[in-house]
């Protein structure tokens, strides 16, 4: 139901992002999706990649402040309105989505998100038979 995501502290200064990307390149890690959220001074670079555990170790070795966390990943049809329908289920259950990003993979849309109540969100996914993606599925793509 959840997949591992890397969260990396990124200072707003030129050279910090390339340091992370170079380390991933060196380790031959494939990035599946990524997003940067920023504030005035720093940001968090979130990414989904192949071999997240190894990626995390490699980044630590490269002196990068990185954390591994689990985020929800659900698959939706690549059609107008599908994201709205999915998100509505959570909002109707009184769950807040902390952040979300999406990407297309093999003709399907994927929503990656974190909520303020993981347990409740998991129940919504289960009860509504939403198609979630797990690490094994992720490994097949990457």
């Amino acid at each position: 139901m959840t997949i591992p995501q890397l969260s990396i502290f990124i200072e707003n200064r030129s050279g910090t992002l390339i340091k992370v990307l170079d380390a991933l390149k060196e380790a031959n890690i494939q990035i599946v999706a990524s997003t940067i959220a920023d504030t005035a001074e720093y940001g968090i670079y979130r990414l989904i990649c192949s071999e997240p555990m190894r990626a995390c170790e490699e980044l630590k070795k490269a002196n990068v402040a990185v954390a591994l966390s689990d985020v929800f990943a659900i698959e939706i049809d690549d059609q107008p309105g599908r994201a709205a329908e999915a998100v509505k289920l959570f909002s109707e259950a009184g769950i807040s989505i902390t952040y979300m990003y999406s990407f297309l993979l093999r003709g399907k849309g994927v929503l990656i998100f974190r909520t303020d109540d993981g347990e409740k969100a998991a129940k919504v996914i289960k009860d509504n038979n939403l198609k979630s993606i797990d690490e094994a599925a992720l490994a097949l793509w990457a």
Binding site: Q5, L6, S7, I8, F9, I10, E11, R13, T16, K19, A37, T39, E41, Y42, I44, R46, N63, V64, A65, V66, A67, S69, V71, R114
Partner: protein, 435 residues
């Protein structure tokens, strides 16, 4: 009519008279130190007896005293009189270990007030003046030091303390304040608020003198303050170990601060070799007290870097003239009148596993206010912005408690700051106050 001098008999002594008085008082002070075990031991170690002090130059035979000595003997180990004779205690915040404690007898307080009164008289203040002391009170000696001195001179003295600029301005106008003591950055702040309030210091106040000190500032900053406020601003030197403000002050010539040699022996030494440097060359200021009862200090290493400008002056005072402080021989930072050691920052950072122990302190002047920014490296990744925000807030809070003013905290990438081994640059001073 008033004399030009508050203590004419000592202020106008010739050089040879000053030196004769110093020798007599030095001998007395060294004898007095023998009442204290710390000094007895120190003298025994160096093989010195009070009788070895035969000329003024013999002061160099005496061992140096350091801030560490004060810490090691905390709290009362360097007191040379019975504790019942002490009436005042001032203490530092205790930066890297024990705080330093300075004790005063009644006579010490009176002599301290006399030095401050002499200074304020020197720049033209008389009993009909109104003195507003806009300096921190409490343990900060700039508060009570100027209070007692201004009262001793006979002025109406307002303990306005620091802050609350609107109230300060109201006092200045309503009470007819003619003189203010404050740290230079606060004078600038006061002027900003005056401007906002439509108060013109030249037109709407009776101000004629500013006493500024306790914070490094350049000649340009002084000139800017004088232009803003339309009055002369005189540089003041003090340190709590010597009593507080009063030790040195500029005369109307504004060509160096007169250090009162009836109260102190002034030496400037090379901080490495500890040998005296020639007049005009920069070295570390070393002071020996000559009138202190409770805690005489012999050859106290102030860590302040400065130089001797001269020993005579057109103002008629032949007390040594010392340049404004040019920096420190240790890593102490003086910011807005507060003394800060980088080790204090380090100590707090050690408590946070989320950040590294490398750090960079940057001092800047923004809108005429001195600011400190502490950059620290984020050690651990997180998926939560709230955690990062809470981390920098908590760092700011705890650093603020430790160094007594809240710095800005900037979280930076791991590995982006200089490493702690070796002579890493920890402090970048962009205030350009030391010229």
């Amino acid at each position: 009519m008033y004399s030009n001098y508050f203590n004419p008999e000592v202020e106008t002594l010739s050089r040879s008279e000053i030196e004769a008085l110093q020798l007599e008082r030095l001998q007395k002070t060294v004898h007095h130190c023998m009442n204290n075990e710390f000094y007895r031991k120190k003298f025994a170690e160096t093989g010195i007896t009070p009788d070895d002090i035969k000329t003024l130059a013999d002061v160099r035979k005496l061992p140096f005293t350091t801030k560490q000595d004060l810490r090691d003997t905390y709290p009362f180990g360097m007191c040379c009189v019975p504790m019942k004779d002490c009436v005042r205690l001032h203490s530092s915040s205790g930066t890297t270990g024990n705080p330093t404690v300075i004790l005063h007898t009644k006579k010490d307080l009176d002599e301290w007030a006399n030095q401050v009164a002499r200074n304020l008289w020197m720049v033209g203040l008389r009993p009909d003046d109104v003195f507003q002391n806009s300096s921190g009170y409490g343990m900060f000696t700039g508060g009570l030091g100027f209070q007692y001195g201004a009262e001793k001179l006979g002025m109406l003295t307002i303990p306005a303390a620091a802050g609350n600029s609107l109230r300060q301005i109201k006092f200045i106008k309503d009470f007819g304040t003619t003189a203010i003591h404050a740290i230079p950055s606060y004078v600038t702040r006061l002027y900003e608020v005056m401007k906002e309030e439509g108060v013109d210091p030249r037109r709407d106040t009776k101000l004629k003198v500013l006493a500024i000190g306790a914070e490094p500032h350049s000649e340009e900053q002084r000139k800017r303050i004088e232009e803003m406020m339309g009055v002369k601003a005189y540089n003041s030197f003090g340190m709590s170990e010597m009593c507080g403000p009063g030790v040195g002050f500029e005369c109307p010539e504004q060509n160096g601060m007169h250090f009162w040699e009836d109260y102190y022996i002034v030496e400037i030494v090379d901080p490495e070799t500890l040998e005296p440097v020639p007049d005009g060359e920069i070295g570390e200021l070393v002071l020996t007290t000559l009138c202190r009862e409770a805690m005489p200090l012999l050859r106290y290493r102030t860590r302040d870097l400065t130089r001797i400008l001269g020993r005579t002056c057109p103002c008629g005072r032949n007390h040594i003239r010392i340049d404004r402080m040019r920096g420190r021989s240790d890593d102490m930072i003086v910011l807005r009148g507060v003394n800060i050691f980088p080790i204090q920052i380090e100590k707090i950072l050690m408590k946070f596993p989320e950040v590294g122990t490398n750090y960079l302190i940057t001092l800047t002047t923004e809108d005429n206010n001195d600011q400190m920014t502490v950059e620290v490296e984020v050690n651990e990744g997180t998926d939560d912005f709230a955690k990062l925000k809470a981390l920098s807030e908590e760092l700011r809070h705890q650093l603020g408690d430790e160094i007594l003013l809240k710095p800005r905290v900037r979280l930076v990438s791991k590995g982006s700051l200089p490493v702690s081994e070796g002579k890493a640059v920890r402090v970048v001073d962009k205030r350009k106050v030391y010229q």
